[in-house]
């Protein structure tokens, strides 16, 4: 029987398997950030342990960093201590780190692929659920808790049980104006927020193959919003072309050897999946979430659904509660929803192609008067430099957007960027949970082009007619 891509990577990393199925899995690389690592380093210190392979890690602060006036440092003393603690810990334990002032600093999940730290076929972890992003390069990548961060530092392994195999097959091609974000939101709408729990999802089909590697990162990034710890996409020429020449990829003869091995990183034709879900790409329209879970999503030409029509009692209660929190009435057309803020950024959508797509929409237009703040937060310093070289910063600034420094920013509002109670935001991030973007804030998840169009119109609009 053939193997799935997940089977192949898993099998190549098994150190031992115990009789009850618990497997000690080798972890090739770990990304570290300031929020989920201090207690792990403290644990090493208390037990007098050293990292197993310090050079298999790369650290960068992203969650707490300010996105403006960075030269003045971090105003919040608690955030500042956390970022300083990361740098101190990395110095003490010999772990490579990009400091806040390094031009390569950015969101871990943007930096990893961009530097070539993420490679096909590796196991990669980070104390962050959106580590699934790296699956776009054919790496088995997943989020872990702080105890596991410490475990990987100390042993270069993790105790795991193998997940089941799911393939999400997106058939055919999407229409103009429909992006990777819309595809993945439609998938989550179909699977539900727990539909992928216990699975590793491989995304496949013409619509996925047609995406750029950056688009594929958007897809895998949100696998966790369907409950799957890891998303995967097979390696193809685009993957290899994306990696070629990046700073940390193998050099010389090792590159050729690696590429040869990477060519096998796809599911075999006769591989068996525990579950297969098919979607018709042509039916996917630009998506907008209306509730407080990413599965609460509707097409832009749709309406806010009516909980009264939901047969499941627990779901119905969840919908009623979500609509109350979001201050929305059933039957409201999505395009009638007015906005207070617009956020373009996050590990889901802050790469150069995302910024190009947004800039394309707003070129020569102005942010609507009712939008108090529209901001662009590039995913990394290198993305920012590239965008500025292309003049995108000018396009954004002229339209009335703020152009900021890289970090997680208003995706989770750990720094100063946040919604105020009751504010409504079109956001290119990944979670619309209650309070996610700030206490009492209301989040609608959309693609960069849709967020840009909403900023100009002041309410949601169908970017296909914009």
């Amino acid at each position: 029987m053939g193997k799935t891509l997940y089977d192949k990577i898993w099998d190549a990393h098994v150190v031992r398997t115990d009789p009850d199925g618990s497997t000690l899995l080798y972890i090739d690389r770990q990304l570290i950030h300031e929020v989920t690592s201090p207690q792990a380093f403290e644990g090493l210190r208390l037990a007098n342990r050293k990292p197993w392979r310090p050079e298999a890690n790369l650290a960068v602060a992203d969650h707490n960093v300010p996105t403006k006036n960075r030269d003045r440092g971090i105003a919040d003393p608690v955030s500042r201590l956390q970022v300083e603690t990361l740098e101190k810990n990395c110095a003490e334990f010999g772990i490579p780190v990009f400091s806040m002032r390094d031009h390569r600093q950015g969101i871990v999940h943007v930096v990893g692929p961009e530097e070539g730290f993420t490679l096909p076929g590796i196991t990669l972890v980070c104390g962050d659920s959106h580590t699934s992003t790296h699956g776009a390069l054919g790496a088995l990548a997943f989020g872990i808790g702080t105890s596991e961060v410490e475990h990987v530092l100390a042993t270069q392994t993790l105790w795991m049980r193998k997940a089941r195999n799911m393939r999400v097959q997106v058939k055919g091609h999407v229409g103009p104006g429909v992006t990777a974000k819309d595809i993945v939101l439609a998938v989550i709408g179909e699977l539900g927020t727990a539909g992928g729990t216990g699975y590793t999802i491989e995304f496949a089909g013409e619509a996925i193959e047609a995406l750029s590697v950056e688009g594929r990162m958007t897809i895998c990034n949100m696998a966790i919003e369907a409950g799957a710890r890891a998303g995967l996409i097979a390696v193809d020429d685009k993957t290899i072309d994306y990696l070629r020449g990046r700073p940390l990829v193998p050099q010389g003869a090792l590159w050729d050897q690696a590429v040869e091995a990477w060519r096998d990183l796809h599911s075999d034709a006769d591989a068996v999946f525990d579950r297969v879900v098919e979607l018709d790409a042509r039916a996917i329209r630009p998506q907008v979430t209306w509730g407080t879970s990413p599965e609460m999503v509707a097409p832009v030409d749709g309406v806010v659904p009516d909980p009264a029509r939901e047969p499941d009692a627990t779901k119905r209660k969840g919908m009623v509660r979500a609509l109350e929190y979001m201050d929305l009435k059933p039957g409201t057309p999505i395009q009638k929803i007015q906005l207070d803020k617009v956020f373009i950024g996050s590990c889901t959508n802050s790469r150069i192609e995302d910024l190009r797509a947004a800039a394309e929409v707003i070129k020569g237009r102005k942010v609507a008067a009712n939008v108090r703040l529209a901001m662009v937060v590039p995913g990394s310093g290198l993305v920012k430099e590239q965008a500025e070289a292309e003049g995108l910063d000018k396009v954004f600034r002229e339209a009335g957007f703020e152009w900021r420094d890289p970090g997680c920013s208003m995706c989770l509002a750990m720094n100063a960027d946040r919604l105020e109670p009751g504010e409504r935001c079109a956001s290119t991030s990944n979670r619309n949970f209650e309070g996610r973007q700030g206490y009492g804030g209301r989040t609608h998840l959309v693609s960069p082009a849709m967020a840009a169009a909403a900023a100009i119109a002041g309410h949601f609009v169908d970017v296909r007619d914009f």
Binding site: V15, Q39, E42, F117, T131, S147, R229, Q257, R431, F433
Partner: protein, 214 residues
């Protein structure tokens, strides 16, 4: 890690599906570099009527009287009963830290999010998966004075009427939880095997062993 053996306690009914880790412990509390002190901020946005900030003294904060943790009949509960997909969202281990710090030792639900489920075991917290019908039944029964006994060794939950519900747990997880064992020390007993794997892998994929010099 705190060992887990047996507990008899009131049951706190949290009748919501998809409770995410942002709700369990909001992001502002993640700035702490410590592992303790999160209990007073557990479910902060649902539990209090004002906006919580790290290091705040919570004794005089206005409480939401409708939220289950604030109802006197559940004040001593150490078993949390809840719905599908508990702990979804972020990987923050601060969520189980906050639950454990508050005093919760057992969470019963029809399903959990994977990362959260894993994180519980590292913190002496026992997540129990029961079928949705049984969870429904428990929600109907629970009320003031309602207590369950959870025994890990026998993998049983005993109801007030003496009826017993069995639950499953992986043997290795059970063992570690019962003894409160340190995962890393156990893994390091296999250090030779890890080195053996590395030696083999270095032959197959030498590019993975070139030190990273960013």
């Amino acid at each position: 890690m705190q060992a887990f053996e047996r507990i008899t306690s009131q049951v706190i009914p949290l009748d919501r599906a998809n409770v995410d880790t942002d709700a369990i412990i909001p992001k502002q509390f993640l700035k702490s570099i410590r592992r303790s002190g999160f209990g007073p901020f557990l479910f902060d946005e649902w539990r209090y009527l004002d906006r919580g900030e790290p290091e705040m003294d919570c004794t005089d904060r206005p409480k939401n009287p409708d939220f289950v943790l604030n109802q006197p009949q559940y004040a001593h509960g150490r078993i949390l009963l809840t719905r599908e997909n508990f702990g979804c969202g972020s990987s923050r281990e601060h969520a189980p830290w906050a639950l454990a710090d508050y005093g919760i030792r057992v969470i019963i639900a029809p399903s959990f999010a994977d990362i959260f489920f894993n994180n519980c075991f590292k913190n002496g917290l026992l997540p129990i998966v029961l079928d949705p019908e049984t969870v429904d039944q428990l929600f109907r029964e629970v009320g003031p004075g309602y207590e369950l006994t959870v025994d890990l060794a026998t993998q049983t939950i005993t109801r007030p009427d003496g009826q017993v519900i069995r639950f499953d747990i992986e043997p290795s997880r059970k063992e570690r939880l019962l003894k409160g064992l340190d995962d890393i020390a156990l893994t390091l007993e296999h250090a030779e095997q890890i080195r053996g794997y590395e030696a083999r892998r270095r032959e197959e994929a030498p590019w993975l062993f070139v030190p990273i010099q960013p």
